[in-house]
């Protein structure tokens, strides 16, 4: 391609839902896509502020998610509480270290990595850093792709609670941590969808091809 031109530079908008390239009468108020009817936006509206708000909210929830117990196991009257890390250690000591590793990655490292990655992307866009656009876009796609896997522990806890109901012998109940943990996953997934990767490419006049 001889000339690299973005839709925004050409005064066009690509519909996010159906992909139609539309020439709006006014770029300030582009209106709706004539083909699918969804609202047209050159860039996701107030993407940086909204993504920051969601990242900060998720970071706040991340603390009780890790400190509060996610499960309480009652065996003959005495109750033992487990945090997420406690669950990982249980899996490790009971001999299934591959599972311990999977849960550790999905529940501890992935959420933390997402928060760090999104913050880095937001800061680099705000500073209008010109370089590494391809790598940053790849990082964004990874955040988008991997985010759902953090829900793993919520499912593990749900099915453990649902199955181990043998009162008074043994029963498992959920702890408050699980709600905060689910909140972290949901908030970071929405944050990833709110961030607009096109902002990475808008910075700098340099055209990377």
């Amino acid at each position: 391609m001889a000339t690299a031109l973005t839709a925004a530079q050409a005064g066009l908008i690509g519909c996010e839902h159906c992909g139609l390239l539309v020439q709006p009468a006014s770029t300030a108020e582009p209106g709706h896509c004539p083909r699918c009817g969804s609202e047209l936006e050159s860039r996701r509206r107030r993407s940086i502020e909204r993504t920051w708000a969601l990242v900060i909210a998720a970071t706040i929830c991340y603390i009780p998610a890790n400190l509060l117990p996610v499960l309480g196991t009652t065996t003959l009257g005495s109750t033992e509480y487990d945090t997420i890390m406690g669950g990982v250690i249980f899996l490790y000591t009971s001999g299934s270290w591959p599972l311990a590793l999977i849960v550790l990655i999905a529940s501890v490292m992935v959420p933390l990595g997402k928060l760090v990655a999104l913050s880095y992307l937001l800061i680099s866009v705000q500073r209008r850093s010109p370089g590494g656009n391809r790598e940053r876009t790849r990082l964004y796609r990874m955040v988008e792709f991997i985010g759902r896997w953090s829900m793993l522990d919520v499912f593990v806890d749900t099915f453990t609670v649902a199955l181990v109901q043998l009162d008074p012998l043994m029963s498992v109940r959920p702890g408050a941590g699980v709600m905060f943990f689910a909140a972290v996953v949901v908030l970071t997934m929405i944050a990833a969808a709110t961030f607009d990767p096109r902002l990475i490419w808008d910075a700098g006049a340099e055209q990377e091809l």
């Binding site: 690299a4 390239l21 499912f155 609670v161 012998l169 689910a182």
Partner: protein, 216 residues
């Protein structure tokens, strides 16, 4: 040939007509812009029908059975969300119910309706609307994550009592493969090229440039 703006970097580029199995990536950021599919309607339709059947089995049959000292317990997917609700974790119950049941069911049912509707000529505008709904359900449908969660729970509980996988679990395992298969075999452009526009005045038949419609 069609001009598109890359959804990830906004670069304008023309996409050639692709052969089956072909793929067009953005020259600047590498985003997959289009894929060539063999049967963009028929194949995902068959897969969606299979997915609907497995969804029903996965939601009716128990995921696993537990037995300890002469007592038995079992759980279904909805049973898991219900127990969370009863135990005071309503917010988590809603998240689990949405990601494990409502979003996958919504995705499969919307896709099924879209693919059936796509057989009509011209494709009615509501098909496009439902396709948008299916797209919005897809990120929240977490069947594969749930499958791994069931396996981890199974192994954890096996330390304490005797557990056996149920039919529901196998159904979840197959469903986990069918949902991405629907996605891969389907080409949304096959719908969008033939759909009746929300604003017929702006459609290609009415406009001078077939790729540039004015907005409202």
């Amino acid at each position: 040939m069609q001009t598109h703006a890359c959804p990830d970097c906004d670069l304008l580029q023309t996409i050639p007509n692709l052969p089956a199995g072909g793929k067009a990536s953005c020259v600047r950021c590498g985003h997959t812009l289009a894929t060539g599919t063999v049967e963009p309607i028929g194949r995902p339709l068959a897969l969606s029908i299979a997915a609907l059947l497995l969804l029903i089995i996965a939601n009716i049959d128990p995921l696993m059975d537990l037995s300890a000292v002469g007592r038995h317990a079992s759980t279904t997917i909805i049973g898991g969300a219900y127990q969370m609700w009863v135990d005071g974790e309503q917010a988590t119950a809603v998240v689990v119910g949405f990601c494990a049941v409502i979003a996958p069911a919504g995705y499969i049912l919307f896709m099924l309706t879209v693919l059936v509707g796509a057989g009509r000529t011209p494709v009615p505008a509501w098909v496009g609307e439902l396709l948008r709904w299916a797209d919005s359900m897809r990120p929240w449908s977490m069947v594969e994550v749930m499958m791994l969660g069931i396996l981890v729970a199974l192994i954890k509980i096996a330390e304490l009592a005797k557990v056996e996988p149920g039919i529901g679990m196998y159904a979840v395992g197959v469903l986990m493969l069918l949902i991405p298969a629907i996605e891969v075999s389907f080409d949304p452009d096959a719908i969008w090229q033939r759909v009746v526009w929300v604003e017929p005045k702006a459609s290609p038949e009415a406009a001078e440039d077939p790729h540039l419609g004015p907005s409202s």
